[in-house]
Amino acid sequence: MVKCPFCGTPQVANTIFCSECGVYLLDDERKRTDILNLHDLDLDKDDGGKAQAEALRKGSGPLAVRLKIGESHRVVEATLTKAVHLGRLDPISDVFPEIDLTDDSALEKGVSRRHARILKKDGVVVVEDLGSINGTFVNGKRLAPYLPEVLNNNDQLQLGNLLVEVQMR
């Protein structure tokens, strides 16, 4: 038996979340994001809002976004019916990003648990930095936290030192 530290309900051994209050019961060590010296990743620095205009012209905009992540180039597709969070899974701090980057060496590359989110606003896909330690970059330009920035097809997204290629579907 284990006891939930939050509400005191007894739980069977190995239980992962409290059945009463939903709190995470395992005590992993917290994995904090370290501040990094970011390498210059030498990105293409073009753009001019062309794709944004195109998205607007198309009306409802893309339905999903496809992300090619890091050196492994694994590809993940997320529908844009709601916001898609990127970061590192950490149940202790209640962080459950839809796209968990833990296996993409996210910790080493300075990705925060709650790093950024991608969502559709008025038919346009935007990315928003969620106050991450090492920042979110679109084509090499660092975003101001919580200020949405338009994301275009084939944009280079960078979370800390982790590169992500973006494709609209």
Binding site: A13, V75, V76, A83, D94
Partner: protein
């Protein structure tokens, strides 16, 4: 050490892929009972050419007074778009109902599309909502054309409460499921019985949905049409052969949306598998303690499905799950992140279930507390809109002792959709 042993039929190409993840490779030796989780996902095989099965479809539309205006307009538009997608192989029928049911168009093949649309345009609203009448009339239309080679389906759309015929509706839905007819039940607005509609869909192997504003009607009907047009396997079931000392505590469907699965452990029904979404099931087990180190088989899991248009219909795959009992010190705690994520979302869904149960038993204070806790968790994971709905309802509950019908549905259908996750296209 392999803890999962997977065997599939060897003589046939696989129709679906089975991916099984377990929470613990090692279990601690001791005197305590332990929890153990298994996440099963069933995905259609990419290589399988997608055959669109002929549809045997009946639309059952609520024409009660409350449907008047925007709702009816949108339903007609959605229905017309469905008509456009009907092929010559399909049969389509339309039933409307209020206090009684009326067969607008009998179910048949090779429909005249423009005449069908004209008939749909002529639907007038008026009267009450007698769900059972509509359901019976719709099923009667589907039955004569019912076959193993077609998708037999009924789409029921309503915006009102039905009174006194709930049990008959459930019985009839169960009968439909047993006769390979699945139901999609769609509720518009706030004033309909979500328990009834969800159950009707589930026991027939279909799905339900909440449509909060009329502007979403067309979209939902389109999505329903897409999903029934891409059925890859039917009557998907999981059967478990539990070894001694192993018990199934509960099981949930996680995707396409969270749903508590009933039925006995020997046969868990999952309904049809479509090309678009995989079916994921999370099972929680209890394991009796073992006092000495050993390797032990815990259970055998079998996933079966009916593959239409195959000479030999039945397809199955089995997996044997075993674990190593070891002294506590050597037991690591690396739980696969997919299981942690799934359980995290499930925990929130279960808080909702518990809040509703408390409410039903008159425990207002407890229910309020749960909704508030839930709101905090939702805020933490970034679900601000849903968190706001939960907080609003917690406040309302504390003041008035009731939830709003709309808030109740928002929370119910919002929490069950928490498990929607991005699709992995390839891994490196």
């Amino acid at each position: 050490m392999g803890f999962l042993t997977q065997t599939a039929e060897s003589d046939k190409p696989s129709a679906f892929n089975l991916n099984v993840q377990i929470s613990h490779q090692h279990l601690a030796v001791g005197k305590d009972e332990q929890a153990f989780y298994i996440l099963v996902s069933v995905t259609p095989t990419d290589s399988l050419p997608l055959l669109r099965l002929p549809l045997n479809l009946c639309l059952v539309l609520d024409q009660s007074t409350s449907m008047q205006g925007m709702r009816m307009q949108q339903v007609k538009e959605g229905a017309r778009q469905i008509v456009e997608q009907i092929t010559t192989e399909d049969s389509l029928g339309v039933v409307v109902f209020s206090d009684k049911a009326n067969v607008l168009l009998p179910c048949r093949k090779k429909i005249d599309k423009s005449r069908t649309k004209t008939a749909i345009n002529s639907i007038q609203s008026g009267g009450g909502t007698e769900l059972f009448q509509g359901l019976v009339a719709g099923l009667k239309e589907i039955e004569p054309n019912r076959s193993q080679q077609s998708v037999n389906h009924l789409i029921l759309l309503t915006d009102g409460q039905t009174y006194g015929d709930e049990i008959s509706c459930l019985d009839k839905s169960k009968w439909a499921g047993q006769n390979q007819i699945s139901l999609t039940t769609l509720g518009i607005g706030a004033d309909w019985n979500e328990n009834l509609l969800d159950q009707m869909a589930a026991i027939s192997g279909g799905t339900s949905a909440y449509i909060d504003t009329p502007t979403k009607i067309v979209e939902v009907l389109k999505a329903t049409m897409k999903s029934i047009s891409s059925v890859v396997a039917r009557e998907l079931t999981i059967s478990l052969d539990l070894k001694s000392g192993v018990y199934l505590k509960e099981s949930f469907q996680m995707t396409p949306y969270i749903y508590r699965l009933g039925g006995s452990s020997s046969r868990i029904l999952l309904g049809p598998l479509t090309a678009e979404v995989s079916k994921t099931v999370l099972m929680e087990f209890r394991i009796r303690p073992e006092t000495s180190p050993m390797k032990k088989d815990l259970l055998e899991l079998k996933v079966e499905g009916d593959i239409p248009n195959r000479a030999n219909h039945r397809h199955w795959e089995t997996v044997t799950v075993s674990a190593e009992f070891a002294p506590k010190a050597s037991v690591g705690s690396a739980i696969p992140s997919v299981i942690v994520t799934a359980l995290g979302k499930l925990a929130i869904f279960q808080m909702q279930e518990k809040a509703m149960a408390d409410l039903e038993n008159g425990k207002i204070a407890e229910a309020t507390q749960r909704l508030e806790n839930m709101a905090t968790r939702l805020l933490n994971i970034g679900e601000t809109e849903l968190a706001r709905a939960a907080l609003l309802e917690a406040g309302r509950l504390a003041r008035s002792g009731h939830l709003s019908a709309e808030g109740r549905k928002k929370i119910r259908y919002g929490t069950r959709s928490l498990s929607i996750l991005p699709k992995e296209i390839n891994r490196g």
